[in-house]
Symmetry: C3
């Protein structure tokens, strides 16, 4: 945290233009908490008023705020510039390379250069841990599973056998990649398990939240594409294919064999029935229930159960509390009264 | 994967009838991915067209598909026959018997014959691991807990003290069996914990998904019956009793003291209020919210919040997007206009 | 379980008044399962009939039940008195103090007096485990994280670096405290991670359910206040602040930067959009979807998606199944028919 920059230097490194006097800054904080000598940012317009009151030395923003006394670091995408500034003030602490003597590494596993493997990790036969990848502690990497270069795996993650994770991926604690998909054949004697003999492939630069579960395919591969970000406690069923740069919020559930496009955004607690497609660029609101395929051609944003265009949903939802009154109004009409007669 | 069978031999072993020329087959794949020399299956009628284009040597199906060039393995329950065929091509790899030197086994624990206990497993005092059961790695078996014969427990599973798991059960990574139920007595000084002094019993042939949580009873027993299958990220509250051969999809939540019957099917993200009954054979759609008891006598399939007969829900849900229009139509009627006058 | 009390003694210790003959009792059970010589309780009026049939020696209740043959332990808050009685019959078994030789404790960590640390726990540099706190097994305490005095941490819990947990807290298996919040800055090249450099603070006497996830703040602190109880599989987003003595049922999701008051009650599977406030004392029904801030001034109880006053929701929800019929009725009116003409 002892990192210091001149605003001019910071501007150059985050692709911003300094407006105001140069000064040394020593940290980054929210607009309400920033202290003198710190930098903050404005990306949500409703915080404009705070800019005039902030103690921060400078604000990363798209445009200067009239009446503010601080300097500005003007950037076309201030949130992105803020992300870059954060990285400068908080450079990634490299985990020390080395394998804990309290880890269990199968002699038939392959460890890359500079890996960091903490205590109580298990790396099974034929598994591969890429160069500079870190398994923090208590991580399980199954037989023949692979973790790509520079990936970071937090405690209590499970990678079942054969699962492949790309480069620079971040897997948060408790996520489970490659558990059996939910498939059972009914018979008179009860259910018979359908062996799940496929696998899971996680692309480069993917981040997977805590306690999220991604099931292995029955046959074939469950895929999560490059750059996609999954929040916590999400369920991805077997044989799903998720595109690139898609973001999915917490507690969403995706049933088996869904195809989710790229640059899709899905709100929290949404649910998707099986075997459907969600096209590139579609946005699903929180708690949406998707029962059939959706393409962005029919509208980008969807909400409700079952899913309808978001604007329709907004109008509909606003009226729901008036439904009892509507029933009464219809009853009055049936009794032969019009609104005028009512008066 | 080197397993090979003659189609005639495969037919005999999965209870199917071969129609078409005999040939050697070497694997099993989906209807779209199957290669020459492989077997595939047809259980969902909408894939019929794929049968005519498949490269597979044979298709497991109920009836032959006219115009298809492949052989058929005809079975009355093709999905079940497929399950059997999968097992032939992918025989279960027995985990090598033995206890890792990196496991912590209390001297007062009882280990059956042929158990397989991987590194960083903990088996506490008085716990029992049945014959041939496998604790893959990083599994915690609490004081006096029991894992039945031939059960398979994946990494990072927690069995709290006293919990009992039946035979041939499969517990996926991160599931937690026997955590405290959610019970607190309010008082002026805040909440006081109700000690949860009951336990959990999981029947034979149960499968429990990754990161699913099943709470111990406050007093008495939370039960999951024989052959029941729970998907990932499900919550089962304290004192619930779930019958046999019931299947519950991911992210469903069952509040405390519910009684769920046998052969019940529950879709994903459904929620059940506490202290209610769901009768044998009931089907609950995804995202259903059950607020009172349901019996199959009142209809087998239910959906919606709160739950209503599924057919009613379908009609209702179809109309929701038209609700704003309905309000306008009623307003017009109140203004004294009928549809005719409108024209 | 060998604990025995005279009813008169039990009454004194739980703040109840004995009505009926004194006798020795040896255990506590539910009203249906209680055996002779045991105590039970009545807090839900619908179980009154059971009191007349119970075999229990005495019932903890608010008022005696006419016609019952058992003794009564009369208490103004019988559920609370039951909680106290349970503690007497099931005194907390202290985990033996000591640090397992199979734990990994960094020399720069600080362990209090009488801590109990089981096998395969990791306590990183600068971390603090308070006096008499217990880490059962396979627990990960990150760099600089702190667990307060007398807290109990079950297997497979992860505390990320810097997270602080108060005194007498109970953390159930698989919960993850301090994982990265879900923040990414979109750009033309895909998403760039917003480093999450804040932390999490969990107050005294908090209980956190199995597999619940609480994300660290982007900047600043995610807080859970004293005495608050979270059930299983809950998601708490970054920068949330939750007050004191609030209870939240399983599978609820709270988006980032929400402020939840004190003595709030939230049902299962509820969802809250980001950056909103829920005032002190508000009650949210199961599956409620909160899209904007709610204060108890506007009504204590809310339900529905989006949230509306609970009473409104009840009336609305009751009418939903009749919506198809309402559409037909309006159509008839538009055709110029009134209810009378219909007949």
């Amino acid at each position: 945290m002892g990192t210091r920059f001149l605003l001019s230097e910071l501007a150059a490194r985050i692709g911003a233009v300094l407006q105001g006097p140069d000064a040394e800054v020593s940290g980054i904080a929210s607009i309400e908490d920033a202290l003198p000598g710190q930098v903050t940012f404005l990306s949500n317009p409703r915080y404009v008023a705070h800019v005039r009151e902030t103690k921060a030395a400078a604000v990363i923003a798209k445009d200067p705020v009239p009446g503010a006394e601080c300097a500005f670091l003007l950037a076309p995408n201030p949130y992105y510039a803020f992300a870059c500034a954060l990285e400068l003030f908080h450079p990634r602490e490299m985990r020390p390379a080395g394998v804990s003597s309290m880890a269990s590494i199968h002699p038939g596993a392959t460890l890359g250069k500079g890996v960091s493997i903490g205590p109580f990790c298990v790396v099974e036969e034929g598994a591969v841990v890429g160069d500079r990848a870190a398994l923090v502690a208590n991580v399980y990497v199954g037989k023949g599973a692979a973790v790509g270069e520079d990936s970071l795996v937090y405690p209590h993650v499970t990678l079942y056998h054969g699962v492949r994770v790309g480069k620079r991926a971040i897997l948060h604690s408790g996520c489970v990649i490659g558990g059996d998909g939910f498939g059972f054949a009914p018979s008179e004697k009860g259910y018979r398990k359908i062996l799940q003999v496929g696998t899971v492939e996680i692309g480069d630069d993917v981040e997977i939240g805590a306690n999220t579960t991604i099931d292995r395919a029955a046959l074939g591969v469950t895929r999560v594409g490059r750059g996609t970000k999954l929040d916590n406690l999400i369920q991805v069923g077997h044989n799903c294919v998720i595109g690139e740069d898609t973001v999915i919020a917490a507690q969403t559930g995706i049933s088996g064999s869904c195809r989710i496009g790229s640059r899709v955004m899905i709100g929290g607690q949404a649910g998707l029935a099986g075997h459907l497609e969600v096209g590139d660029g579609v946005m699903l609101g929180a708690k949406t229930g998707v029962a059939s395929s959706i393409s962005a051609k029919d509208g980008a944003a969807w909400s409700g159960v079952p899913a309808m265009p978001h604007k329709t949903w907004l109008r509909m939802a606003m009226l729901l509390p008036s439904l009892p009154e509507l029933f009464r109004r219809v009853k009055r009409l049936e009794e032969g009264k019009t609104a005028k007669e009512e008066e």
